[in-house]
Structure formats: C-alpha cells, structure tokens
Symmetry: C2
Subunit: 171 residues, 2 copies
DNA sequence: TTGCACTTTCAATGAATATTGAAAAGAAAT
DNA sequence: ATTTCTTTTCAATATTCATTGAAAGTGCAA
C-alpha cells in the first residue's frame, strides 16, 4: 500500500480541511491555517504561514486573529525572538468543545431570540395560516431548546452522570 | 407588548432563516424557500414561491429540487391541478434528523475517508513533525468516529436504551 | 402530431466574499 | 528620538458563489 511523504500528506490534509471548512460556512483560508497549525509541532510565525500556504500577509493576519477569537489558537512569546508565534491547542476534544460552544453562542442563541419574538402574532387563532405559523415557530423553539441543553451538557457547562456516561462512551 | 401581523412575522422568519442558513453553509434562497414551505399550511407551487420571495423561476426550481434531495420537501399531486405542488414535512424532529443524516453522509463520512488515507506516512516515527502529524490525524479520526456513533444513535440507525433515554429527555 | 402548460437547464450576469499589498500604526532597539 | 522590525488596516481587486431568464425539454390532451 502506498505511503505518502510527510509534506505531501500535510498538503493533502490542509487542502481537504479547507474544503470541508467551506461546507460548514467557514472561510477556506482560516480552516487551512488552522490545519497547518495543528500539524506543526512548534509555534510558527505569520511569515511561516504566508510561505507555507502562499497567501498574503494581510490575509494571514486577519484569519489568525479570527482563530484566536474562536479560542482555538494562541499567541506565544518565544524569548529572544522578536516576531509573534502561534500554536493551535492539540487537544482535539477540547478544541471541538470550544468550537461547539462558540457556534452555539453565535448562532443558536440568536436564533432562539429571534423565534421568541415571533412567538405570537396578531389575528384569529383559528386561521389555518396563523395556526400553522405559531405551531412551526413553537416546534422549532422546542427543538432548539433541546439542542441547547444537549450541547451545554456535552460542553460541560453542567457536569452530571449523563455527561459522564456519554463522555466515557465516546471520548 | 407589540404583536406583529402574520405577513410581517412570516417575512421576518423567512429572512432570518435565510441569514442563519448562510452561516451554516446553506444557500440563502434554499433556506428561505424551506422556511416559506414550513409556514405554509397547504402545498404550494413554484409560481407561488416565485411571487412570495420575488425570485426567478430557475432559482426556485433548482432550490426546490435540492430540498427534495435533502429529503425534507416533497412533491405533491393535487388532482385536477396541472402544476406541481410542494410541501415541507412539518415534523421538525423528523426534519432535523433527516438533515443530520444527510450532512453526516455528505460531510463526515468523506472526511473520515480522507483521514484514513493519511493514517500513516513515510519516514522516521521519531521525527517531531511525523509524530505530530500522525498524532493529530489519529485524534481527529477518533473524534470523528465518536461523533459518527452519537449521530447514528440520535438519528435512530440503532435504537437502544441510551437513545430512548436521550429522546425522552429532550424531545 | 400539434399545441399548450409546465419544468428544467445553463451561459451570462450580478452579488457577495475573500484576498492582496501598500500604507499606517505600533513597539522594541540603538 | 530615530531607525528598524513587526503588526494591523482597508480600499482596490480578484475570486467564488448565486441568480436570472430565455431556450430547450417533457409530457399531456385535443
């Protein structure tokens, strides 16, 4: 069976990761930078990223900043070095948790807020259209609230027997 | 407290839903059409969608087709009517399940395949770079495999006490 | 078998998003 | 306080992605 060289495999990983990222509504470059940081054993500089991914200074800067905002990449000071270095936390479980938390905060919570405002509308409760509308909004809210609970549990906002069982089963 | 008129609320819902969709890597229009179908008590035609969302015939056609491909919208025959009509399944739990299944199939499975191919690379196992790479790939695979299991359970591919408990807790 | 009602396709266009790079700002070192 | 190295910003540009609409396709019905 064919074995790739490391550089080839890295490139493959970075490219695929970028492609999957876009499917999830994540900037391709941001995903690629994250992938690069994941497979880099030591902290690297913006310059390194520029070279290895052939992208511009500004682009690297903005996306690294974004990754830091997501809480999955850190700035690192290396004594004696002038340039900033960056690392990705290599604990994948922790990173996933962090990403889930972040997406929940940025997307699920605002959605539930929006739905709350549409809770009840003017007009005849017997009207098919009114009925259908309120029904759907209510159901989506329920679904969203459940999702929220599950995610909070999974990301350890509350720790309990259920979470523990779940983690033991799947980690 | 202010109550919206139905049409206003519908519009609000459709627009917001479209915006949230894009964040999830889903075509804005597709998300909007789905929202419209959700709040419509009866099956509607492509023409109806065109008018209500002010979008072109081709756009409606392609996106409805896509929604059908996701298994959350159905073509409906209304006897006496020439035009095709469409409905969204109003069971939100079922729809969510269906979307999760579909995304898993389209995204998670291919990702795991990709990772499998990068499992082992040429070169010295003691090299920091080789080590880090194989380590990360292995960890992501593990994480992905766990996610796969959880999702399969949640979407009822296997039914067991755990799923039942989960469903009872959150549905 | 021709016309009609409707659906589908897809090249052209438009809109949204990402990327560049040069200029400004910031931060050590001399 | 000036030079030098580094980071950040952002208007201009390039790229990607979504939308249009006219033409081709389908199939029913007279």
């Amino acid at each position: 069976m064919y074995k790739m060289k490391l550089t080839e495999a890295k490139q493959q990983f970075i490219n695929s990761w970028g492609a999957f990222g876009t499917q999830w509504g994540i900037n391709r470059t941001m995903a690629q930078i994250y992938a690069l940081l994941l497979v880099s054993p030591d902290p690297i500089t913006q310059e390194d990223v520029m070279e290895q991914l052939s992208i511009s200074r500004g682009n690297v800067n903005m996306n690294i900043r974004e990754l830091i905002g997501w809480g999955i990449v850190e700035r690192v000071i290396i004594s004696g070095e002038r340039k900033e270095h960056f690392v990705a936390d290599k604990d994948i479980w922790k990173a996933s948790t962090q990403i889930i938390k972040e997406r929940k905060k940025r997307e699920l919570d605002p959605m539930l807020k929006m739905l709350a405002q549409l809770e009840d509308v003017e007009g005849d409760k017997k009207d098919r259209h009114v009925k259908q509308f309120t029904e759907v909004i209510k159901d989506i809210r329920k679904m969203g609230a459940s999702a929220e609970k599950v995610l909070d549990m999974m990301t350890g906002i509350e720790g309990n027997f259920f979470t523990d069982a779940l983690i033991k089963m799947f980690k």
